[in-house]
Assembly symmetry: D2
Homo-oligomer: 349 residues x 4
Amino acid sequence: MYFASDNSGPALPQVMQALNDANRGYAMGYGADQLMADVRTQICDIFEAPDAAVYLVATGTAANALALATLAQPWQTIFCAPVAHIHEDECNAPEFYTGGTKLTLVGETDKISVEALRAAIEAEETRGVHGPQRGPVSLTQVTERGTVYTLGEIKALSSLAANYNLPVHMDGARFANALEALECTPAEMTWKAGVDVVSFGATKNGCLGVEAVIFFDDKHTWEFELRRKRGAHLFSKHRYLSAQMQAYLLGDLWRKTARKANQKAARLTTGLKEIPHVSFAHPPQANMVFATMPRAMHKNLLDAGVVYNIWSGNLDGSDPNEPLTARFVCDWSLSDANIDRFLEIVRNS
Amino acid sequence: MYFASDNSGPALPQVMQALNDANRGYAMGYGADQLMADVRTQICDIFEAPDAAVYLVATGTAANALALATLAQPWQTIFCAPVAHIHEDECNAPEFYTGGTKLTLVGETDKISVEALRAAIEAEETRGVHGPQRGPVSLTQVTERGTVYTLGEIKALSSLAANYNLPVHMDGARFANALEALECTPAEMTWKAGVDVVSFGATKNGCLGVEAVIFFDDKHTWEFELRRKRGAHLFSKHRYLSAQMQAYLLGDLWRKTARKANQKAARLTTGLKEIPHVSFAHPPQANMVFATMPRAMHKNLLDAGVVYNIWSGNLDGSDPNEPLTARFVCDWSLSDANIDRFLEIVRNS
Amino acid sequence: MYFASDNSGPALPQVMQALNDANRGYAMGYGADQLMADVRTQICDIFEAPDAAVYLVATGTAANALALATLAQPWQTIFCAPVAHIHEDECNAPEFYTGGTKLTLVGETDKISVEALRAAIEAEETRGVHGPQRGPVSLTQVTERGTVYTLGEIKALSSLAANYNLPVHMDGARFANALEALECTPAEMTWKAGVDVVSFGATKNGCLGVEAVIFFDDKHTWEFELRRKRGAHLFSKHRYLSAQMQAYLLGDLWRKTARKANQKAARLTTGLKEIPHVSFAHPPQANMVFATMPRAMHKNLLDAGVVYNIWSGNLDGSDPNEPLTARFVCDWSLSDANIDRFLEIVRNS
Amino acid sequence: MYFASDNSGPALPQVMQALNDANRGYAMGYGADQLMADVRTQICDIFEAPDAAVYLVATGTAANALALATLAQPWQTIFCAPVAHIHEDECNAPEFYTGGTKLTLVGETDKISVEALRAAIEAEETRGVHGPQRGPVSLTQVTERGTVYTLGEIKALSSLAANYNLPVHMDGARFANALEALECTPAEMTWKAGVDVVSFGATKNGCLGVEAVIFFDDKHTWEFELRRKRGAHLFSKHRYLSAQMQAYLLGDLWRKTARKANQKAARLTTGLKEIPHVSFAHPPQANMVFATMPRAMHKNLLDAGVVYNIWSGNLDGSDPNEPLTARFVCDWSLSDANIDRFLEIVRNS
């Protein structure tokens, strides 16, 4: 039973099939393949954005770092949550790709509030040439704590950013899970809400390794292509990226898959809610559950071979009642039976 | 008929099968998968280098840029051929990853000679702190003109580099093709000949997108891992890189595939040699043929739908006899029938 | 009456005289001048550190950024106070010079505490290759709020850093002012307390523009020289840097000058303490006074032509009693008469 | 007798006097001083460019690297002569400041020809996103071999660059010497000839350490200010840069000083021409003389305490007649008597 991450399960059979199908004959390299043309059309349609510029890369960090480098100048600062992936989990990739842009941590945890963002923006650029200059705002949707910005929240933050002429980036590593949680359209969650660029994740939601960077205007297209190549993220045999994305988007597969993952998390949440001594560190709104449980429960789960990460607190320790928080990530491939078995173990702890 | 590049043909069926096989159940991410452990063992065995450090990335440019960044300091210069991929075809990726290391172009064309390298090394660092400092030597094997360094040549260049304490990098995007041309062992072509780090290409020789970086000592391992992550080249679902490489190396598949590609090029070369007005800009020694032919022959080939690139001279022009040089790259999937048809067209031009 | 900064007053007459004296005949460039040899000896003597490596640059930001770039790797994070000059006032110079190292802000204000530093260090590097790695600790002495770390505090912080093998940098833009406040030796405040590298400021304390970077071991000397040159901070007519520093250090001029500045600040502080409605945002311990006074007092001061910066709060506003904090910096050239006139205005407000 | 460089002699007395004069009372820092306003007016007047943006830094490398970083993108290449200071003598500072822009070496030696530049430009950007993109053209005036581009040559090169929309940078470390050699106006040698940005040197021609960067349009002003600060090249006590430049420009001092230096070089050249076995490696056109003389002559000069650098060939060696080339740089402070004594030694060798 794996709850460690949504990158440890298998890829979707349809995606794998598409890879097999793509592996025939010759195809132009470096994004000039026919499948990429299809992907571009699919994404423009799905996002109701006929002029969107669409690029594929293979990792989420590449999508984020390249998108931010295109938006930010090296003397600026990027506003993000303190637990943002770009801050905590990318080994300074944004700093590397931007050439030294700073990250300003806004607020205390997973979500940025309008008040905290305004205060952070106001605090910068009060020192003229001496201080870092204001740069892009980056929102993580789903957040790193499993919560989801509402459309109203995104709009309010984007609108504030727009007042200062700051572009808005969305780290959508779990874009589909957020969309399913909000039951809205991709356009509503992005450009209609003021988002300028999206890292549109597909890897965590059933692909092998592919992410799209989507710009809703075409100001930066050639620059982005050069940055992608210079970053060594342009694939020669590009069709194998295109094929994954094409199958992922086809027939709403991506949304169905995310729905499935979210439903697994909901089943887990519902089950945990009924168990005494279990609480939630953050309200589970997509496919990640941050649950706080006594050490004894964790011991039993881990003894039973359940794989996941303790997020706060230390497993070593003698008090069986001490509460420890763990992250449980649900991917599409998780079975209801496994969830029920998990709940059984917790219940019996 | 595609002769444009060895990145336009399909991947090997065995590699594709391995991907399908790998797509089962859960696997640890980020290189902690079991298949990666296998790959490490395979490469250490194949290279007779039990302590080699082995890392996978998805593009050749990533392999080169990360390897060079690990070897070079930003105030140094890298010695390479003027037609090296790292200089001409990576959009300044080495400069980006190193933080501004310079490239010193040695000699006139595909191969670096000992004399030219000595002169270039001697010319640097005559200015103390003012000039760029001497850095790594990078050799491309197969060269970008389809020629192959002999073992003696590699040894002589490495030995010269060693005299100045300069490390040697081999850009082995077509490593297997060179090995087949030389009929030697991987160890002989690398560490036994003084090479410190290899970009071990697999993409061009039948994989979808995977390259190994191999260090023959373990000085730089942790640094390389950090550089790879920071460069956004660490795959979360790493097993899909491992699976390709594992299958590629299994049962000498990689060498057999390269042998096939080289044989195709030999068949093409043999055929062309017999045709009047056709000559070779560089001796074809692996899987690339740089042939010079009258414009009229090119017109006929292109009219027949053959895909390849004119390398020097301009197709537009009226003189049917003017010689133009083109690059013809042969990959494993090319059929003898297609080569013969190609020769037929040339012969009848 | 200028209290805006210690960079707005004139240079010391002895320093100016030394410049004039140095302007004779020929001298070797780039630090090979005789005066630089003298400076090296002076600093080694003053710091009781015969093996110290000493370099001159012209700005404090250059000293800090070059020193930190020599200590830190681009995938690390530098631990500093949130109000540190390197974070707030250098327009991302440290990020630029390091190639993208992050800054982790420790604690809430001017001083880093051992507890906060331990927590910050522990919070990093819990994510293996994914997160930023632990890097140098940077202490500002005098802090940006006019307070001074005690020797005990420096030792405790350095000792904690040493437990994690992290080097310690001291931003000593106001080194002399701190030394006078502590009445200790340079060695006691630096290497004897565990500091590895010092940005030894002279500009703010009476020079035209010169700072020393002092390494207490010689591990990094050649690297630093290359970084300085590459950063365009190596002066061709270096004697004009050397001459300033030589005169500055001669006969304890630097300490006497700082003592004078601190005494001015003490006179200002003593005067302000007796005035109702005036308080101190930070205990004034060197040559900077952060005083909080009603808006009406500020209005009167500014109307009288006193030059300084409001540090928190907004001068525009109608309530004459609202307290606003300002920074008053005292340099050596300030006259007692001016301080008394200043106090007179405040008293009469 | 110093002929080693124009950075080893003293600064002009007028410049030193200006420094002394500037050292009174308080002045705003960071370029907001009154003297800087004067300098801006002077330079706009002298260059007949009322809208020029003018910035001061302290080293020539800073002027070049910051100017080029403002003009070039990191995925581009800068076209320059193989002996350009930016290539040979700045320890990769341009690569550092640009974030990894490449330098393409045009031609064989000191001057770029139109034909060579066209060929070099045409050779780039034939590979789409893969290769480096075309970037600025950088001309060194006076060249590093003591020759001077004619106005016609500058115009022809700039006009070619303009055809490709490439900006033109002039490294004018010896700007005044070139101007005197050409007997033209600053405007004629720069914007009227198509130059976009000038590194306007003053250090080598009698200042202590100050250079202006002059942009002939105001597109890049704020960006340049941020780059200068981020590069740690913004002086807090800026008046000491302004004062130097102000005095340097006043009453044509700068042109008179350069005229003097050129006259010294002309005296040296005239004398050497009459001496058998002495020839010139490059036609001496400004204040640098590259003379080729038998080893025996060099031995005598060096024995007599003359200081200069052998530029090609090796002083060690037994053949007294073997010709070795040396660089002799003349600055304004050189006396005729010393030149004559020098010639005497050569003549008697």
